[in-house]
Each structure stands twice: as C-alpha cells, then as structure tokens.
C-alpha cells in the first residue's frame, strides 16, 4: 500500500467500511509513514468536528409538540368521520404533482374494473357449473377419512426428511411405472410454485396408498403437493362417481394441526398439505394445484382417447 492508496481508502476506514485485513494494512502503513499518520489524525478531527457542529441543531420544542399533536389527531380522526376524507381531498389538490399519477391510477382502475367484470362473469359460469352439481353429486365426491389420514401421515413422515435438501430435485423416471401422468410433475407444478423451493420429488407411500410427492419449503415451512389415484377407497361412498369434482373449489380439511386442500379430476386427487393457517393453505393450494390439475386432466383425456383408439383397433381385428 502506498500513500495514494492510503488516502483513497482513509475515509472508508474511518467509517468502518473496510474489511478487517485492509484495516490492518492501513494501520501498518500509518505506523510507518508520518505524513499519512497526520493525515489520518486530521481527517478524524474533521469528522469529529462535522459531527459536533451538526449535532448542535435541534428541532424546536414547539415543532415537536405540534408533531405529537398532529400524530394524535391523525390517529383519532381517521376513525371514519368525514373530515378525514375532506382533508385527503384538499391535500390531493395541494399536491399537483400527483395529478398525472392520479390519471394513470384512474385508467388502471378502469382496466381493472373491466377485468374484474370479466372474471365475475366467468365466475358466474363456474357458479352455474357448481349449481349443476346436486347435493347428491357433492356427497358422492366426499373423500374418505382413511385417505385424509394417509395423506396427512405421508406429509408428516416423509416431508421433514427433505426440509434442507439441496440436491436438485427432479421426478425420477421410475414414476412412469406408478403413473405416467405424473412424469415431469415437478416441471408442471413449477408454474404455480413461484416463491417456493422444491426440495424433493419422488413416489412414496403410506399404508396401502401411494403418492407422487413434491416437497416444497417457504420460510422454513414444509408444503407438500401429493397426487394419488382416485380409487374407490379414496371416496367415502366406496365407489368412484362418474363425474369429477372440477366444479368445486378446494375441499378443505384439517388434521392434527395440518391444513389440507384437495382437488379431484376424473382419475386423480391432488392434495396440498402444510401447517399454514387453513386460509393460506387453501390460497396456496389453488395456485399450486391449478397447473397440475390442468395437466392431469389433459393427460387423462388423451389416455382415454388412446384407449378408445386401442379398443377400436382391436374391434377391427
């Protein structure tokens, strides 16, 4: 280190912004070099003097009092009376610079409104679909207690092993033997898994039930996405209804501090399980399961199509 380097780094040294090793080098140089030593002392003095002159300035007691009063009136006033609104309005026009921003906000509001209407209308259609399911239909879609138990237990026993897993998690090819629709399940789910870290992807089981299992974490919380076969044991009625549960929102369950959200397609049931509060889990489930459901559905449709073709070909023979 020469004197130029020393002078360049000196201010950062005084602010404590240098690395420990650099601090040592600086001190070593100052010890050997007299002009730099006095420069160090001078700059330190200057810094202290700056701090001293500036610290003399204090806000007046009067201004502090009026600040406290304004805070207090703000806290009590904004309890829903009219003056709050009027103040807001007046202040808005005082800040002319905000007007372009307000115009943009207005436009956004219009676009948002139009979009909202569109969504509402679409929701309407969904409602009609739900309405098309009679109470008997909905009863037929009820999941069995043993399935809930198996799903929750699988999350409990399997997911914690992977909480800190760093190995790149990818659904192994062996999943094909379990269920071809679950090949690449991790890639499919990635679309809805923004903000989550994928820790594991595999096939596992609890009792007689097998799952394709994706383990995610978010802020140290474990989240499982589990896909299983919609068989007769999975449903309370003991038989698989010929219609799927796609018109339903997530079916929610709680099981020993766990929250479960479930979706059904014609041949699969998709669960999202976590220890999050039930509402959060459901919101997450909706985001996470949607691409999975779409994928499973199209896989099911195409496999039905293939089966048909196979049957037709066999008939031709």
């Amino acid at each position: 280190m020469d004197c130029r380097d020393f002078k360049e780094l000196l201010d950062s040294y005084l602010c404590g912004e240098l690395a420990v090793e650099t601090n040592h080098t600086m001190l070593g140089h100052a010890e050997r070099c007299c002009p730099c030593r006095s420069e160090l002392a001078a700059r330190r003095q200057l810094r202290e003097s700056l701090r001293r002159v500036c610290s003399r300035e204090k806000m007046s007691d009067q201004a502090m009092e009026s600040l406290r009063a304004r805070l207090r009136s703000d806290a009590t006033e904004r309890m829903g009376n009219k003056t709050g609104w009027r103040n807001w309005f007046v202040r808005f026009f005082e800040m002319r610079s905000l007007i372009p921003a307000a115009i943009v906000a207005g436009l956004l509001f219009l676009i948002g409104g139009a979009w909202g209407l569109y969504v509402l209308r679409r929701g309407d259609i969904n409602d009609r679909r739900t309405a098309a399911l009679s109470p008997e239909h909905i009863k037929a879609l009820e999941l069995s207690a043993s399935l809930i138990d198996e799903t929750a237990s699988d999350h409990r026993t399997c997911a914690p092993y992977f909480i800190n897993a760093t190995k790149p998690a990818e659904m192994p090819n062996s999943v094909r033997e379990y269920d071809p629709a679950c090949v690449r399940l991790d890639k499919v789910a990635a679309e809805g898994a923004m903000g989550l870290t994928l820790r594991a992807a595999h096939v596992c089981g609890h009792g007689e039930r097998k799952f394709a299992h994706l383990v995610y974490t978010r802020d140290g919380q474990l989240i499982s996405l589990l896909v299983t076969v919609r068989d007769s044991r999975a449903l309370k009625a003991g038989e698989v209804p010929p219609f799927d549960g796609l018109a339903l929102d997530a079916q929610r369950f709680t099981y020993d501090h766990l929250a479960l959200g479930a979706y059904q397609t014609a041949r699969h049931i998709v669960f999202v399980v976590s220890e999050l509060p039930e509402n959060e889990n459901t919101a997450l489930a909706e985001r996470l399961a949607k691409p999975v459901i779409n994928h499973l559905r199209s896989a099911e449709l195409s496999s039905i199509g293939l089966n048909r073709i196979k049957i037709l070909r066999e008939r031709e023979k």
Partner: protein
C-alpha cells in the same frame, strides 16, 4: 375498543420512532437549508411513517425506513427524482484531481460553512455518512440510489470539502457553491 388499540399503537410508534427526530431534523436541515421547511419535512415524514406503520416490521431497521420516507416526501415535493447531479457540478468534481493534505486546527464555523457550500448532492451523502454515521448500504437505501453512486459521491464530496477547507477550490477559481 378499536380506538384504544390505535392509541396504543401510536404510543409504540412514538416510543420507537420519535427518538430519531433529532437525526432526521439534521438531515432535513441539510436538505431544505431552512429551519421551518426542515421542521415541516420531519413532521410530514412522521405522519407518513405513522400511516404506514402497520406495514413496518418491528425489529428491522427503523432508522433506514424513516430516512427512506423522508427522502420520498422530499422528492415527491420536488418533482425531481433522486439526487441528480447537474452536469456542471459533475464537471467540477471531475476536474479537481489534486488532493491536498487536510488542514488541521479548523474552527467549527469553518467546517460548517464549508459543508454548507457543498452542492446538495454531495453534501447529503457526506452528512449521512460522517455526521449520522450511517453505513454506505443504509445511505443507498435511504436515497434510493445504487451503492456505487453513494461511494463515488462520498469520495468526491469529501474531497470537495477538504478542498474548500484548504482554500484550494476558491483559489483555483472553481466555484463550488450552488
């Protein structure tokens, strides 16, 4: 009931945040160069902070958050975004290559006068670093400018300050005052 909750929250806010009023005022004074305006700026900062206090996570850096609000309030009043360098000031900073030894035995008045003569864009980072002892990172957050910019402004600002104090800037014919 709700009212009581709100007042209790206000008490927490006051206990946590009002302690920084001295620091905020000093910086506001550097920014506004006028006591009354600075007091207004601090008051407005606290009002805004209180209104969004529910979004603040207790335990994170309250001081940096308050500074950020202060500069937001200031910028929004200015209609000019961020601390922007006027080209001429930039040019002055570039041309001064010589770094004289820092003079010793300066009076406080000389130091204050030199600081006040610095262009605001250099003066504020210097005040934040050397008076308020904020880290470079905190300054970047508060002013919402990149860390590299903070460092270069500090470098030039401190150099200009030393030049001012040594009388070099004026002797060499550079006008540093705004």
């Amino acid at each position: 009931m709700e009212q009581n909750d709100k007042l209790r929250r206000l008490e927490t806010f006051e206990a946590e945040a009002l302690g920084f009023s001295g620091q905020l005022f000093r910086v506001a004074l550097r920014v506004c160069r006028d006591r009354e305006k600075a007091e207004d700026l601090v008051q407005e900062t606290y009002l805004q902070a209180w209104r969004s206090f529910h979004r603040f996570e207790l335990g994170t850096n309250l001081r940096a958050w308050l500074y950020r609000i202060l500069f937001n309030v200031y910028y929004s009043g200015l209609r000019r975004h961020r601390l922007e360098l006027a080209p001429i000031e930039e040019a002055i900073a570039e041309t001064i290559a010589y770094d004289p030894p820092t003079p010793q035995h300066l009076t406080d008045e000389e130091v204050l006068a030199a600081l006040e003569r610095l262009p605001r864009d250099f003066q504020i980072p210097v005040a934040l670093a050397d008076v308020e002892e904020m880290s470079y990172r905190e300054i970047a957050d508060a002013l919402q400018i990149p860390l590299g910019t903070v460092m270069s402004r500090l470098h030039r600002g401190r150099k200009l300050l030393r030049m001012e104090l040594a009388g070099y800037a004026r002797d060499a014919g550079y006008r540093v005052a705004n």
